[in-house]
């Protein structure tokens, strides 16, 4: 028997009992890169899973695997899920892109949704949020709040999403504070609390009084809370336990509406492969409460910026913006196109250091 049809037969066999009792459940699988208790990225995806359960009740069955490494293990986990009869599988980290495509090719009857990637297929959709909109707001607050003009940035991997975030934050910090400087540390991990905490301490020791992070744990905020006058931001989630300081605001990823919509599409039989990249306008990116540690006028400016971005009146990457080497990227009034943003592999003018490759 051909390998693929064997797999299909196995999948059918696994789905058999559900069909037999005349009550077909839609099985929804999630593959997470961190633990659901990380308080950040994976936590919010799991909130999405819970929202799906709440919305559809007995009509769905959910399953998830946490802390799955990005690599061969991910492929194994996805295959296992597909064999056990999942109808739709959400893979929630950039590094799952190739494994998702590979597994999807073996299971044409199962649909896949990959977060933050760019490779699609007939049964693979991609979805991501415009986090840079939120980072522009945090950058504005950071530029206004810093006393030492040193902002520390804990970066995970040198991929466009992370570079875009650094650029968006720097651009808006620089606009309100020409003296501001960014120190970027690359830690090459999404989730390693020990390393993230050490990186935050190194940045603080060198004079940074604002810490921005693009890693998933609350460890940098915990490190910031030990030093008076240092502020940070929640990443991917509210991280409310550090309010009102050091956590003065937060970028919250709200995946629940998207997950509910996509699971419903599978149930209706209307699912098709799409590419979704939503921002504040649809509520996929939210800004958590700006606390009283931020002076009222700065808070008002930030709220105004949120309103403008939400209404579509302002795009964070609006020219004039030069590349790091001084060449022109966007002319006066020009707005960045999505293609360039999705493949962004350069720093904008004023940022020091090089992007590792």
């Amino acid at each position: 028997m051909h390998f693929k049809s064997l797999l299909a037969a196995l999948a059918l066999a696994a789905a058999g009992p559900a069909l037999a009792d005349g009550h077909e459940k839609t099985t929804v699988g999630f593959v997470y890169v961190g633990p659901i208790g990380d308080g950040g990225w994976t936590y919010e995806h799991h909130q999405g899973l819970l929202a799906v359960e709440e919305e559809f009740g007995d009509a769905v069955e959910t399953t998830f695997v946490e802390s799955v490494p990005e690599g061969a293990d991910a492929e194994r986990v996805m295959t296992q899920m597909a064999l056990q009869g999942a109808d739709i599988i959400f893979t929630t980290s950039f590094g799952y892109m190739d494994p998702t495509i590979n597994v999807a090719a073996n299971f044409p009857e199962v649909v896949f949704e990959h977060a933050t990637g760019y490779k699609r297929a007939d049964n693979v959709s991609t979805y991501s949020a415009r986090f840079y909109e939120g980072r522009a707001v945090q950058g504005h607050i950071a530029g206004k709040m810093t006393q030492t003009n040193q902002v520390g940035y804990i970066a995970s991997f040198p991929i466009p999403e992370v570079i875009r975030g650094i650029n968006a934050a720097y651009l808006h910090a620089k606009r309100v504070n020409p003296e501001v400087e960014f120190n970027v540390i690359w830690v090459f991990t999404w989730f390693d609390p020990t390393k993230e905490a050490d990186a935050a301490r190194a940045l603080i020791d060198q004079g940074a009084d604002v810490i921005l992070q693009h890693t998933d744990s609350t460890a940098p905020l915990a490190a910031a809370s030990e030093v008076d006058g240092v502020i940070g931001f929640g990443q991917a989630s509210d991280m409310a336990q550090f309010k009102p300081a050091p956590r003065v605001s937060s970028i919250i990823d709200n995946w629940a509406p998207y997950y509910i919509e996509r699971v419903r599409a599978v149930m209706d039989g209307t699912w098709e492969s799409v590419d979704t990249w939503d921002g504040m306008d649809t509520g996929m990116v939210e800004i958590g409460e700006i606390t009283d540690a931020v002076p009222a006028d700065i808070k008002a400016e930030a709220m105004d910026m949120i309103a403008q971005i939400t209404a579509g009146e302002y795009h964070p990457f609006t020219g004039p913006i030069n590349r790091q080497d001084g060449s022109v990227w966007l002319a006066e009034g020009e707005v960045a196109d999505d293609g360039t943003l999705l493949g962004m592999d350069f720093y904008i003018e004023g940022l020091t250091g090089e992007i590792p490759n």
Partner: protein, 309 residues
């Protein structure tokens, strides 16, 4: 690039914090190995200590009780190892590896429901005017109690092994267990005490990660620190002082590479990230190339002892 933005005083203070977990685990393992037992389960004992201490600290609100429970948790787990290797005469290497796997699983189970919680903060010791002394004040007199405890443990282990009769007896068990037995010493009891001490040290080291360095509970958060501690015992040639140097060297490179990055030094990040491991390997090679025989491993290390032999 701006090296001047690195403050050497803060750097040294930070490296002491980064080194303390592996230093504690390594000094405990040193005593275990000196008694002739090779316990490869350090990683498992550390992670169980990390969660045991975390739970106790969160439930009681007292970091001190947390560290106490971490020591007890690590010691209890090590006694499982002691029972299997000393009384059922199992292979120490295999049992140690199993202990690590068991510890990782057990800690994950115990930690259900403790993710995303903030533990009570371990306050720094207030040493009054001492901590206001420039340079020395920041490095020596403004750390938390566990840093001092780790240094005191190193000194105590050094003095115990070098100057006391009990230390001599413990070392004799590691050099020639049959001879020690013939002289009437309870080899198994002595080794069991050493193993429990090693477990307690590893447990406190693990709790230092979950309660001070991060502070948060995450599955598998010791992330190989136990293995580094084992390597440092070899690196330190089974001597307390050198174990301390090794631990601080490793912690120092880890912290230094993050600081160099923050200062914008133009060395590719990948090289910086692997530098701690490269330097550990390099020093190991240098040490063992010259004087492999004189390295000082206890003669009976890893050998099962039974009085009938």
């Amino acid at each position: 690039m701006d090296l001047s933005s690195i403050n050497p005083v803060l750097l040294v203070a930070a490296l002491m914090v980064a080194s303390t977990p592996i230093l504690l685990a390594a000094i405990g393992e040193l005593v275990v190995e000196k008694s002739g037992v090779l316990n490869l389960g350090v990683e498992g004992m550390m992670i169980v200590g990390a969660i045991a201490g975390f739970i106790a600290a969160v439930e009681t609100g007292s970091p001190t009780l947390g560290f106490l429970f971490a020591a007890v948790g690590g010691a209890l787990l090590s006694l499982v190892f002691a029972a299997i290797t000393l009384f059922f005469l199992a292979n120490q290497v295999a049992t140690g590896l199993a202990l690590t796997l068991f510890g990782l699983g057990l800690s994950s189970l115990m930690g259900q429901g403790y993710q995303g919680i903030r533990p009570p903060l371990t306050s720094k010791l207030d040493l009054g005017p001492l901590s206001d002394i420039p340079v020395l004040g920041t490095i020596l007199f403004s750390q938390d109690a566990i840093v001092y405890l780790s240094l005191a443990t190193v000194a105590a282990v050094w003095a115990f092994l070098k100057y006391t009769r009990a230390g001599l007896i413990l070392r004799s068990c590691g050099e020639n267990a049959e001879a020690a037995h013939a002289l009437g010493y309870k080899v198994k009891l002595i080794r069991m005490a050493a193993i429990a001490f090693g477990g307690a040290c590893a447990g406190v080291g693990g709790a230092y990660i979950s309660m001070v360095r991060v502070p948060q509970w995450v599955d598998g958060m010791t992330a190989g620190a136990g293995w580094i501690a084992l390597a440092i015992v070899v690196f330190g040639a089974w001597r307390a002082g050198r174990v301390m140097v090794g631990a601080y060297l490793f912690g120092g490179v880890t912290v230094l590479q993050l600081n160099l990055q923050a200062a914008g030094i133009k060395i590719p990040v990948e090289y910086l990230s692997m530098s701690p491991y490269l330097i550990t390997i390099l020093v190991l090679v240098l040490i063992s190339a010259g004087r492999a025989r004189a390295l000082g491993a206890p003669a009976a290390l890893g050998q099962v002892f039974h009085a009938s032999r």
